[in-house]
């Protein structure tokens, strides 16, 4: 059985962020090695400013209350926890170039890499998930 989980985060909304970080932290807490490859809008999820203001999908704004009531951790909290548990973040170099972003725009401790970096890691990971 593979002990590696590979996740691609390609979307930048609040729901996307929860899907990515809940699975990532749960896997890391289950003693799996976890890497997340952030690409395109997925980069929002680890962007120093953007991660604090991720948007709900249109028409779902009423769920804000539900999130509070269920005492769901915030995205910045989940990001911190994921890193504490050893989850490795890789930001996609190509997307950063397109968007004019540098490593300093993101939370500390990330790595920057290309598609091959991720593919090399993911080749024997199970599962590989895309959000």
């Amino acid at each position: 059985m593979s002990n590696k989980v590979a996740i691609i985060a390609a979307n930048g909304g609040l729901f996307d962020a929860y899907k990515v970080f809940n699975i990532a932290t749960a896997a890391a807490a289950s003693e799996k090695e976890v890497q997340i490859f952030f690409t395109f809008e997925g980069l929002n999820l680890i962007h120093k400013q953007a991660m604090h203001a991720l948007e709900m999908p249109a028409g779902k704004e009423h769920l804000t209350e539900g999130f509070e009531k269920a005492n769901v951790p915030t995205i910045p909290q989940l990001v911190e926890m994921a890193q504490e548990l050893g989850v490795k973040f890789i930001a996609c170099q190509m997307t950063m170039d397109v968007m004019g972003l540098t490593k300093e725009d993101f939370v500390d401790g990330i790595e920057v890499g290309g598609a091959v970096t991720f593919l090399e890691y993911a080749k024997d990971a199970s599962p590989t998930l895309t959000f």
Binding site: A29, N71, P73
Partner: protein
């Protein structure tokens, strides 16, 4: 109240927090010790059972009181299987038909979630200080989960002058008979 070595308050927390907190808390325990996780997340029961089995801990069971779930997990052992050395053994399916005392040396929480009817509970760690509760004239059948702790317990009893002691093999993992619960 079930006895645990450590209590973790994860009440009010949503997934995946109960798991993350449990992972952190269990590192403070020694192998074989029991963690109580208090949670209100309704998914925590299935999650903790799956988590425990995936990382090698033993999920004992859950007690529900009002809105709170009390989950019990015994920290798994990474020790290699040791050879059982106590020479007098008896097989699990024989003990019901025999006279004598069934002594269950698992942790109290394990005993609470299911034991053989009439068995007496003295966890291995407490055995030496509770020997006076046992009768040297009586046959004693020592049982645990897999036969490892009961092997050690049988040796302790023999060293202390108990002569009618048997290690029950394999252990409660293979017990198909009736289980009595105290939860």
């Amino acid at each position: 109240m079930i006895k645990a070595n450590l209590q973790l308050d994860a009440k009010g927390l949503a997934c995946p927090m109960p798991i993350v907190k449990t992972k952190k808390a269990i590192t403070d325990l020694e192998e074989g010790q029991v963690l109580e996780v208090q949670a209100t997340d309704k998914g925590s029961k299935a999650d903790l059972a799956a988590w425990a089995s995936s990382v090698g801990h033993q999920y004992l069971g859950t007690v529900e009181e009002g809105d709170v779930f009390y989950h019990y997990i015994r920290k798994g052992s990474s020790e290699p299987e040791v050879e059982k050395t106590f020479e007098h053994t008896v097989s699990l399916n024989e003990i019901e038909s025999r006279d004598g005392l069934i002594l269950d040396v698992r942790e109290e929480a394990e005993y609470a979630f299911g034991h053989i009817e009439g068995a007496k509970s003295i966890p291995l760690g407490e055995l030496e200080s509770r020997l006076e509760e046992l009768n040297k004239e009586q046959e004693i059948y020592v049982v645990c989960r897999t036969g490892k702790r009961s092997d050690m317990a049988a040796q302790i009893l023999a060293k202390n002058g108990f002569t009618k002691v048997y290690n029950v093999l394999p252990g409660m993992t293979e017990w198909n008979g009736k289980l009595t619960k105290e939860v």
